[in-house]
């Protein structure tokens, strides 16, 4: 049975093919690492609850996109309804890092008029010996775009939780501050509901545009 959540955030995971998007998500949602993973076709879906504060749960609906170029025209149709995103590159694959800029440009065009809060993820950090991208340059790039940077490994389960929960917290803060608002026709943030027992007086919905027609 589905647990109760305060908000639902839709996150999109993008990046070149074979950087490990599906593996990262599977580690996060299923707690396991798949040695063999088929290339994603179009988009796949995962979800998980995250407790950002005691009693405050947020449901993450994760859209796992195909990294393959050939699916690009399809996957970009899916960007629009996401509030957050993980932009992955493979630290052992310099090319995937160089393409980060392009991914950002592409999403920028396709999410308008909305915005996506991105975190830059340097994946496969367990393969440090084969590293082709230094942490420093990745951090620099992330900063240039106002993103956080984090290095993860799905295989060794390093920073996987942190990557998702930090992003979730950041979005939650923005929602709390009203910088991101729930809007009709946009699936990025959905408000859940709180049952009677969990009810507390400070939990007041700060919603707009809910006309009572």
């Amino acid at each position: 049975m589905e647990a109760i959540w305060l908000y639902q955030f839709r996150l999109i995971v993008i990046g070149d093919s074979t950087v490990g998007k599906s593996c990262l998500i599977r580690r996060f949602t299923e707690g396991r690492f798949a040695q063999v993973s088929d290339p994603t076709v179009g988009v796949d879906f995962f979800s998980r609850l995250v407790e950002i504060e005691p009693g405050k749960r947020i449901k993450l609906q994760i859209w796992d996109t195909a990294g393959q170029e050939r699916f690009r025209s399809i996957t970009r149709a899916y960007y629009r309804n996401s509030v957050g995103g993980l932009l992955l590159f493979d630290i052992t694959n310099r090319r995937s890092f160089q393409n980060v800029h392009e991914w950002l440009e592409e999403t920028k065009v396709h999410v308008q008029p909305y915005q996506i809060v991105f975190v830059l993820v340097g994946h496969k950090c367990d393969l440090d010996t084969q590293r082709q991208v230094t942490r420093h340059e990745a951090e620099k790039l992330a900063a240039a775009y106002g993103m956080k940077y984090i290095e993860t490994s799905a295989r060794d389960a390093i920073n996987v939780e942190k990557a998702f929960t930090d992003l979730t917290r950041d979005i939650y803060e923005l929602v709390k501050r009203g910088e991101i608002t729930i809007q009709e026709g946009w699936e990025g943030v959905k408000s859940g509901f709180v049952p009677n027992v969990v009810h507390s007086s400070e939990e007041v919905v700060k919603s707009e545009r809910r006309c009572l027609c």
């Binding site: 970009r76 149709a77 929602v175 009709e184 026709g185 509901f193 919905v205």
Partner: protein, 633 residues
Amino acid sequence: MSDDVSDGSGAGDKAEMTEMPNSASLPEDTDVHCDLATISNEPTPVDPGGDVLEGAAIQDADTATAEHPERPTETPLNGEVAEDTLAECIDSVSLEAELGSEIPLKEQSDPAEGSLPREGGWAGWGSWGKSLLSSASATVGHGLTAVKEKAGATLRIHSVNSGASEGPQLDTENGVPEGTDAAPDQSPAKSPPTSPSPSSGGMLSAISNVVQNTGKSVLTGGLDALEFIGKKTMNVLAESDPGFKRTKTLMERTVSLSQMLREAKEKEKQRLAQQLSAERTAHYGLLFDEYQGLSHLEALEILSNESERKVQSFLASLDGEKLELLKSDLISIKDVFAAKELENEENQEEPGFEEKGEEFASMLTELLFELHVAATPDKLNKAMKKAHDWVKEEQPTVSVDVAKESKGETEKEEQEENPDDSQEDKKEERATKTVEEVYLLSIESLAEVTARCIEQLHKVAELILHGQEEEKATLDQAKVLVKLTTAMCNEVASLSKKFTNSLTTVGSNKKAEVLNPMINSVLLEGCNSTTYVQDAFQLLLPVLQVSHIQTSCWQHPTSRPAVGNHSHDDQTRSLEDTAGCIALIHALEGDVFYASLATNIHLRTLQAILHSVKNANFQRVCISPHVYVVFYK
């Protein structure tokens, strides 16, 4: 300060929000407007971000509509035709030509009395999803009102029927099978129930008998039974069954299918949260979402809407003979889809209804192979197998149980000795399933299988759109997709029949008040499931049409679109996808052109375009992995 949802206002807001027809929440407003324009001549809100081509599309479509000789005869929108109008919404998008032929057929099922109106009334549900998707609120609102009235009338007919024919016999068991007679015409033709039905389950067997028909007749049968059982049950059902809510919601809303299902799910969750200590019950909507059915449906809607927009803008860029040629191509694809829909409404009997799980699996694989898309049916097959397995394992128990029961051993606890539960996590407990467990499993299986069917159709859409190496003629793909959808629906219907049989036998010693709502709920969700699959299938139409345009049109220089009023100044445009390529063709008339395109599809498409304007004088075509730059002098 916190913006958490407080309980009081949260619940209130939720309700208000869901009462509101939020057509704005359709993923792509623009498509909707385009479609509407062909139906009504209302001013069309132009998407601020939309490009000029769409405006042109609207105009073109309007012109086409006006020109068409068949249109005027259809225009009077009285209550009778309203339902057809509803279905017509999408049809009239750009391809009005064959509408006329469709209408009379549908109207045949609209006489005002007999059991047919029931069919007609419910048949409307089959097409609502796509109609809502591609038509805007005003027109749909009209259609829906009419449908609503019709549904109301239908329900009244039901109560009259049941009052007259079934009422007097209520007190005897013989009266029970009468419920079957009240079901649609084809039901008497069905074979008697094959499963052993204890006498106390007479009524249930009568119902499950009806279930042997697929789709709407199941629903009708279920409703007859509901009338028979009484209004109270109906209300109880309505409370506990998101699927039923969907039907009700249907009458009031104009939103997309995924949206509606989402709302139903939210409401259900809300309701659940309020009864905190309630024992575990089955919730189709929640489970369907848990299996990501909603997400796949929504993603499919996004693709469908986007494809529709592309088709429109491409059509708008054509004229004369080329337009007619392409239109007739697109119409022939559409006809395949329309035929499928008619078949859904008129002929519920399918050959091979009793397929085994394995047969379905191999058929599925074969059909996907035939489609020439690299989709694998693993997940769907697995879900199907899981469902068939547990219900199969129920069967031996059931016969044992019945045998025992005939000896007077009616205790439910004695239904032991059934094989290990197929649910992996229950391997160790060899206990017999209770009626409640069978019910839960039934609902869960239906939700899972349906979600997987929709996922499969979504994957197919993605693969068709991205363009396979070896293209199969789109028309043939459409035909294969019809087969695929039919196979899925048959399988779902067959499952729900098995589930109700299982419920009937396992719960033979239960009181009707306990068992009937469960059986009805399974019937209803089974019927809804097939409807979802069919609705999802209809979403594939624009996808196939775009695919057809992509594969055929740009390979023939003759279909090069006519060029509109484009300035001969230098043009710089950032392009995307097909629509972008159309713009590219236009822009090529300019002196210098810059295009930034991504993805492989464009390499091929671009080559086709360049080929089609080969008389032009290109200075340079520079292609980097993600950017194609075309300088044209």
